[in-house]
C-alpha cells in the first residue's frame, strides 16, 4: 500500500523533473538557434566510394566541391560542412544511412546516390522525413515519378531521357531489327523500355531482350547469342566497370564493326580511356558530351583538370551542377535554412548555366535538357547531332 503511494509520488516527481529539464534544454537550444545563422551548413553526402561505382562517387563529389569552392567555399555566406557516408551501392543499407544523415547528423541537404536501388531506399525515407534531397545521378524514373515530392530534386537525368531519343535515331539509320542487352535491375530495364517505346513507335522490331544479372560482367555466352541472331544493331545500357568490359568483349567477339553498337551515353562516358580502340564508332545518346564547345563546358573541363588532375565526365558535371544549385539557391535565401518553403521554392526556380547547356527543373524537379547524339571518334565522344532539345521527362505517376 505504502508502495503504491510512494510510486505515484516518485512518478510525479520524475515527471516534473523531466519537464524542467526539457524546458531548460529547450531554452538553451533557442539561444543556440538564434546564433544559427553563423553555424555551418551541413551537406550530407551518400555516394559509393567502394565497389564497382566508386569512381562515379568520387567524380560527383569532386564536381560538387569544385562548384562550392569556386563560390568561396560558402553557401549563402555560411561555411560548409560535408558529412560523407559510403553508400557502398548497397540498397539494403540505404534507409539506415539516410537516417544517419537526417536524424543523426541533422544535415540541411542530402546529396546522393549513384545507384538507382539505393535511390529507391533513399527516396522513401526522404518522402517520410521531408528532408531536402538532391539526386546527382540515380536515374530511376520513380524519383520524379510515383515517388516524387517537393523536397526531392534531381540534377542528372531519368533513364527515359537518356534512352528514348535513341529509338528514333536507330530507325532513321535504317536499323529494323535490334537486340537489347542490359543488367537486370530497375535502371537497366527502364532504359531498354524507353528505347523500345520509341523504336517500336517508329516501326522497329526488338528481336530479343537480353538481361544479365547485376553486376555480372561475364558476357561471352550472350555475345555468342547476339551473333547468332544477326540483328541490324544492338542497344545496351551498361555503366562503370561493366561498360568497359562489355565494349571490350564486344570487340573481342568480332562484333565490333560488323553489328553497330548503340547505347545510352553511360556506355562511353568515363570509360573511353580503358576501352581504347574498341569503342570507336559507338553511337550513344546522353545529356552531355565532353566535346561540347559552349564556354561553360570549356571552362569547366579546364578547372576540373587543374583541380583534380583527371579528365571530367558526365558524373563530374552532375556533381558540379548540384554544387551550383546549392550555391545559387542558398544565395537567393540569404543562407536561411530555417524557412524550408522558401528554400524549396528557391531550389525549384534555379536556372543552371551548366557545362551540358543551360537547364531548369521540370515540375517534377527533373532537368529539362538537350539530349545529344555522340559518336566515338579517335577516343572522343564527338557530338553529331541533338535529337532532342529541351526534353522533359513525362514524369508518369508523379502527383505533386
Amino acid at each position: 500500500m505504502n508502495n503504491s503511494r510512494f510510486h505515484t509520488a516518485l512518478r510525479r516527481a520524475c515527471r516534473s523533473m523531466r519537464r524542467a529539464a526539457i524546458s531548460l534544454f529547450a531554452g538553451l537550444s533557442l539561444t543556440v538557434g538564434l546564433g544559427h545563422a553563423a553555424e555551418p551548413v551541413k551537406v550530407g553526402v551518400l555516394l559509393p566510394y567502394t565497389g564497382t561505382y566508386a569512381a562515379l562517387g568520387e567524380a560527383i563529389t569532386n564536381g560538387m566541391k569544385l562548384a562550392v569552392s569556386q563560390a568561396g567555399d560558402k553557401l549563402g555566406g555560411r561555411e560548409v560542412e560535408y558529412v560523407i557516408v559510403d553508400s557502398e551501392a548497397n540498397p539494403s543499407k540505404a534507409p539506415a544511412n539516410m537516417q544517419k544523415l537526417i536524424s543523426g547528423e541533422h544535415a540541411d541537404f542530402i546529396v546522393g546516390p549513384v545507384h538507382s536501388g539505393v535511390g529507391m531506399g533513399m527516396a522513401k525515407v526522404a518522402r517520410d522525413e521531408g528532408a531536402i534531397t538532391i539526386i546527382p545521378n540515380a536515374g530511376f524514373n520513380a524519383a520524379t515519378g510515383p515517388l516524387c515530392a517537393p523536397n526531392i530534386f534531381r540534377t542528372s537525368f531519368t533513364s527515359w531521357q537518356t534512352a528514348y531519343p535513341m529509338g528514333a535515331v536507330a530507325k532513321e539509320r535504317g536499323y529494323d531489327r535490334v537486340v537489347t542487352m542490359t543488367w537486370d535491375y530497375g535502371f537497366g530495364r527502364e532504359s531498354v523500355a524507353a528505347f523500345k517505346e520509341a523504336f517500336s513507335k517508329a516501326g522497329g522490331e526488338i528481336v530479343k531482350e537480353i538481361y544479365v544479372p547485376f553486376p555480372n560482367v561475364e558476357f561471352q555466352a550472350q555475345l555468342t547469342e547476339i551473333a547468332n541472331l544477326k540483328p541490324d544493331a544492338v542497344f545496351v545500357f551498361f555503366a562503370g566497370g561493366g561498360a568497359v568490359k562489355f565494349v571490350k568483349d564486344y570487340a573481342a567477339a568480332g562484333l565490333h564493326g560488323k553489328i553497330p553498337l548503340l547505347g545510352s551515353g553511360f556506355l562511353t562516358d568515363g570509360t573511353l580511356q580503358a576501352q581504347g580502340d574498341t569503342a570507336e564508332g559507338i553511337l550513344t545518346t546522353l545529356h552531355y558530351s565532353t566535346e561540347l564547345q559552349n564556354p561553360a563546358n570549356l571552362k569547366f573541363l579546364k578547372d576540373y583538370r587543374a583541380a583534380f588532375g583527371k579528365e571530367a565526365d558526365i558524373y563530374a558535371v552532375q556533381g558540379y551542377d548540384t554544387g551550383r544549385l546549392l550555391v545559387q539557391a542558398m544565395e537567393e535565401v540569404g543562407g536561411n535554412t530555417e524557412d524550408r518553403q522558401a528554400l524549396i521554392a528557391a531550389l525549384a526556380s534555379q536556372r543552371i548555366d551548366s557545362p551540358r547547356g543551360e537547364w531548369a527543373f521540370s515540375e517534377a524537379h527533373n532537368p529539362v535538357q538537350n539530349i545529344y547524339l555522340r559518336e566515338v571518334r579517335n577516343g572522343r565522344n564527338v557530338v553529331v547531332g541533338t535529337p532532342a532539345k529541351g526534353l522533359a521527362d513525362p514524369a508518369r505517376g508523379c502527383r505533386m
Binding site: 566510394y49 567502394t50 565497389g51 564497382t52 566508386a54 569512381a55 568520387e58 537486370d184 537480353i210 538481361y211 544479365v212 544479372p213 553486376p215 555480372n216 560482367v217 561475364e218 561471352q220 555466352a221 550472350q222 555475345l223 555468342t224 547469342e225 551473333a227 547468332n228 544477326k230 562503370g240 566497370g241 568497359v244 568490359k245 571490350k248 568483349d249 573481342a252 567477339a253 568480332g254 562484333l255 560488323k258 553489328i259 570509360t271 580503358a274 576501352q275 581504347g276
Partner: protein, 286 residues
C-alpha cells in the same frame, strides 16, 4: 538450334570452367590437406589481378608483370599461412570461417587504399590480341583460347605432380591422414606452408591471366569466391580430379544457364551443387 551456336557455347563453357579449375584447385588442396576453410581465397584472386594491372602499367609488359607478381603472391601466401592459418588448424570451422572473413575485409580495404577504386583495363598481350573468325559474324578471341590452353596445361602438370611424384605422395598422404604423416617424420608445417603458398599462387595467377579478359575493379574477388566453393564441393574436397571435372560442369552449367534460363542462371549452379550433395554428400570424386 544452330549446331555452330551450341558448339561455341560449349567452347565458352569449357573456357570458363578451366579458369574456375585454376582457382578451385588451390582451394581444394588447402581444404583437403590442411582442413581449413579459406574464405579469403577470392581476395587472393583479386590480389593477383591488381598486381598484374599495376606491374603491367609500370613495365609495359604483361609477361614481365606476371613474372614479378608471382613471387610476391607466393610470399603473401607464406605470410598468411604462418601468421593466421597456423593458428586455425586446431580450431573449429566457425573460427576459420570468421577469421578468413576478416581477412577478406582487410585485403579488400588494402586494395582500395593502395590502388584506388577506379576501373582499370589491362591490355591483352600482343601475340594473342586477335580473334579467330568462327562464323560470318562471330569471332573467338585468341587470348581466351590461350587462357584455356594454359589452364589445361597446369591441370595436366598438377595431375602428374600428384599422381607420379614423391611430393604428390606426401600431399595425398597428408590429405588422408595428418598424424600418420607426422609420425613418418615428414615436416607437416613445411608441407602445409608450401601447399598454402601454392594454392595462393594458383588463385593469384588465375587473377593475373583473367585481368585482360575482365577489367580490374573492386569486388572481383567476391564474385569468384562462392562459385569456386561450389566447384570444390561438387568435385569432392581434396580431389584435383574432382576439381577439374566439377569446374567443367559448373562452367558449362553457368554458360548454358545464362543462355536458356537467364532469370534463374544464378540459382542454377547452386541447384546443381545441392543436387550433387544430396546424391553424394562427399562430392563426386572424394
Amino acid at each position: 538450334m544452330d549446331p555452330a551456336f551450341l558448339l561455341i557455347q560449349v567452347l565458352n563453357g569449357v573456357q570458363y570452367g578451366l579458369l574456375l579449375f585454376l582457382i578451385a584447385s588451390g582451394l581444394t588442396l588447402i581444404f583437403g590437406i590442411m582442413g581449413v576453410i579459406n574464405l579469403a581465397h577470392g581476395a587472393l584472386y583479386m590480389v593477383g589481378a591488381y598486381l598484374a594491372f599495376w606491374f603491367t602499367s609500370r613495365t609495359g609488359s604483361f609477361w614481365l608483370a606476371i613474372l614479378l607478381a608471382l613471387p610476391l603472391t607466393v610470399l603473401l601466401g607464406l605470410v598468411i599461412e604462418r601468421w593466421f592459418m597456423r593458428a586455425l588448424y586446431k580450431r573449429n570451422h566457425l573460427d576459420q570461417v570468421l577469421l578468413t572473413f576478416g581477412l577478406i575485409l582487410v585485403l579488400n580495404e588494402c586494395q582500395s587504399i593502395l590502388f584506388g577504386n577506379d576501373v582499370h583495363g589491362v591490355p591483352v598481350p600482343a601475340p594473342f590480341s586477335g580473334s579467330i573468325p568462327l562464323t560470318d559474324v562471330l569471332s573467338y578471341p585468341v587470348y581466351r583460347l590461350f587462357v584455356s590452353f594454359v589452364c589445361a596445361l597446369i591441370a595436366v602438370g598438377m595431375y602428374f605432380l600428384i599422381q607420379h611424384t614423391r611430393l604428390g605422395m606426401v600431399i595425398r598422404g597428408g590429405a588422408s591422414n595428418r598424424e600418420m604423416m607426422a609420425g613418418m617424420g615428414i615436416n607437416v608445417h613445411t608441407v602445409f606452408g608450401l601447399v598454402f603458398a601454392a594454392g595462393t599462387a594458383l588463385a593469384a595467377f588465375a587473377g593475373m591471366i583473367s585481368a585482360p579478359l575482365s577489367s580490374v575493379y573492386p569486388g572481383i574477388g567476391d564474385s569468384v569466391l562462392i562459385i569456386s566453393f561450389v566447384v570444390v564441393v561438387i568435385g569432392g574436397i581434396g580431389s584435383i580430379k574432382g576439381a577439374f571435372l566439377g569446374a567443367l560442369m559448373v562452367g558449362l552449367t553457368a554458360t548454358f544457364g545464362t543462355v536458356f534460363l537467364p532469370e534463374l542462371s544464378g540459382a542454377v549452379v547452386y541447384a546443381l551443387m545441392a543436387a550433387v550433395l544430396l546424391w553424394r554428400p562427399r562430392g563426386l570424386f572424394a
